[in-house]
């Protein structure tokens, strides 16, 4: 591959605070990273001309050229493997995996190379690469367009795994992930892509590998991430009308987990509900339950409860409403916790 071009477009200074969708915030974030660092490359299936199936890379090939935005063949293993090669030579590739279910042909490279090269080379090789994955259901689609595979990656030492839940995080976290010298799996809640929020483009809301308390409360702590953050916040608003005060924490980082704010919260509330769209078996939610019972044992007033997708393959779209945790299921768990 030829070296990337040096010249890059200069964009007009944007307004500092903008209202953006998550999709647009990601697009702007990618653009900002590409403008700031010419080593940043974007690669994936149909990311160039089409701008990706969700248009997250819309316009990037037009503005940064085909040297920096590469339409690849249908080759997930090849995409991730070549990104490893580019990364160990100093590029900062950002790979798009079109849908969650298509990361599996690339799983081999992720687990055997991406996760291990830094360790195997005693730190002599760095892998500053990002693998972006639209994940989760709720879009009326087939199973391989609706899965939540994040736990596989959080289980693998050597990978960092993050997920955004709102436009400000989307804008900043993608840039922080690109700046990170370690490989980052970046999960994007696809059914929330078109939800809007304010983005302050002058200041990051905080570091990448930190969870954040989005709502403070007294009675029950709700820990969640990605697409379930909106659901949990809605549940907290509904609970408030019934006089129940929920604290909602957005994990943001799934590996490493940043549970200090969770422990602190649970020590106050004595109750924890973990909400994920992913099935619960051997998962991030089970990990959190294990750690919280270990760290907060004497504070717990009730067992840690989990609200998750079911331990089945993702169902046909007509049934997904049944599968996906919703406000009622979260509130039901809150009731059970309080009734303990």
């Amino acid at each position: 591959m030829a070296a990337p071009t040096m010249d890059r477009p200069t964009s007009a200074a944007p307004a500092p605070v903008q209202t953006l969708t998550i999709a647009k915030a990601l697009n702007n974030g990618l653009r900002a990273s590409m403008e700031a660092n010419r080593k940043v490359l974007v690669m994936g299936e149909d990311v160039g001309k089409l701008g990706g199936v969700f248009r997250i890379t819309d316009g990037l090939q037009k503005d940064f050229g085909e040297q920096r935005v590469l339409d690849t063949p249908l080759s997930e293993s090849g995409i991730i493997g070549t990104a490893v090669g580019l990364a160990i030579r100093g590029y900062r590739p950002v790979c798009e995996i079109q849908f969650d279910g298509f990361i599996f042909p690339g799983f081999d490279q992720i687990v055997s190379q991406v996760a291990k090269l830094h360790y195997r080379t005693q730190g002599r090789l760095k892998l500053p690469m990002v693998i972006r994955v639209p994940f989760g259901g709720g879009i009326g689609a087939v199973e391989h367009h609706s899965e939540s595979p994040e736990s596989y990656f959080a289980h693998t030492a050597g990978l960092r795994v993050v997920t955004c839940s709102n436009p400000a995080d989307a804008y900043w976290m993608i840039q922080q992930a690109i700046d990170c010298d370690d490989p980052v799996l970046f999960f994007e809640p696809k059914r929330r892509y078109y939800e809007k929020g304010e983005v302050d483009t002058t200041a990051a809301p905080g570091p990448l590998f930190r969870s954040r308390t989005l709502r403070t409360g007294r009675d029950v702590t709700v820990v969640t991430y990605g697409p379930m953050v909106r659901t949990s916040l809605d549940a907290a608003a509904a609970a408030e009308e019934e006089g129940r005060s929920l604290e909602v924490i957005d994990l943001r980082t799934l590996s490493p987990l940043d549970l200090a704010p969770v422990y602190e919260s649970v020590r106050r509330t004595g109750r924890l509900v973990v909400v994920t769209e992913a099935p619960g078996e051997s998962s991030i939610s089970s990990e959190i339950a294990a750690k919280v019972q270990q760290e907060c044992f004497y504070s717990l007033q009730a067992p840690v409860l989990r609200v998750t997708g079911f331990d089945t393959p993702y169902p046909p779209s007509k049934l997904e409403e049944e599968f996906l945790p919703d406000l009622d299921r979260v509130l039901h768990a809150v009731d059970r916790s309080l009734a303990w």
Partner: protein, 315 residues
């Protein structure tokens, strides 16, 4: 090697209305049924009756229809994301498929599989690209041992030749002399990416690299296709895998409303559409059959849409 099947490449005369031999009524009816079925799906999406993704085989309908008499019931068929035509050609059951896609009573898989994940008898599809090839090779190995003479067919697009699993399967099929028939629907594009931007070399040369025979069909005349492909498919049954490449055209968007091709490109695709060529070649007979198929599908949609939801029952 005792039986060297290597690299037969046969090229057929290019397409054109003057090359179309009149098809049997039943074949014409099936091709048109698939055409109107796919148009109806796009219409259902536009009306908000269907959600998610669907990939229509508009422009490629003749491919599975051409293969029907070359296949036996005991042969396996593995289909992909663009598989409605494959299913209808095999089973003549548009109602079961539509019910599956709409999640209505009578659905082939109780509505659990949807458009892309169908299982019926010896027919299995998946929308995850490339994965069917090794699976088909495994079935072919079983067939070779236990039902000699039967074959496993797998449909694959040109873009899917980017996936590594394809080559692992081709290697095993050649090495173990498996009755594997790989039918390529080479429509020149994968989603938004033109073949030239995603494939180095040719499918023919890739088949040749494994010593696998290859037939390239640039023609939509059923009689011609069957006459040329028939003998090669018979050799597959004896353990000589074959890559059967159809040069064809994707008339519609990849899924819905996501076509990135220019008007000029689309005009070319439409001019090469078998539907247009057949219409020109057959005149009145074609128009009548087309109207019958359209009316049949309209009735079908009304009938299936009125059914109650599918119920997920145990087998």
């Amino acid at each position: 090697m005792t039986n060297n099947m290597a690299t037969t490449t046969i090229e057929m005369a290019p397409d054109g209305a003057d090359h179309i031999s009149p098809p049997a009524d039943a074949d014409l009816a099936t091709m048109l049924l698939i055409r109107h079925f796919e148009l109806a799906l796009l219409d259902l999406f536009a009306r908000g009756e269907l959600h998610g993704t669907t990939h229509t085989c508009l422009g490629q309908e003749y491919v599975p229809v051409a293969l029907v008499p070359l296949l036996a019931e005991r042969d396996y068929v593995f289909s992909n994301h663009r598989g409605h035509g494959h299913y209808i050609a095999r089973f003549g059951d548009p109602a079961g498929l539509l019910a599956e896609i709409m999640g209505r009573e009578g659905a082939v898989c109780n509505g659990v599989g949807g458009s892309q994940h169908i299982f019926r008898d010896r027919y299995l599809s998946t929308g995850v690209q490339g994965e069917s090839l090794p699976v088909a090779a495994g079935v072919a190995l079983h067939l070779k041992r236990h039902e000699p003479g039967a074959l496993a067919l797998t449909y694959i697009g040109d873009g899917t030749w980017g996936e590594g699993a394809v080559y692992e399967a081709l290697n095993m099929a050649a090495l173990w002399r498996l009755p594997l028939l790989v039918v390529v629907e080479h429509n020149g594009i994968a989603q938004s990416t033109a073949t030239g931007a995603q494939m180095a070399g040719t499918i023919r040369a890739r088949a040749a690299a494994f010593g696998i025979a290859h037939l390239r069909v640039e023609n939509s005349s059923l009689t011609e296709i069957r006459a040329t492909a028939g003998p090669l498919v018979e050799r597959v049954r004896d353990g000589a895998p074959l890559v059967l490449e159809f040069v064809t055209h994707r008339l519609g968007p990849h899924s819905k409303g996501d076509d990135t091709r220019t008007d000029a490109e689309l005009r070319q695709v439409r001019a090469a559409d078998w539907h247009a060529l057949y219409s020109e070649a057959l005149g009145e007979r074609f128009a009548e059959a087309d109207a019958i198929a359209a009316a049949r599908v309209t009735r079908l949609v009304d009938e299936v849409a009125a059914r109650p939801p599918a119920v997920w029952s145990k087998a």
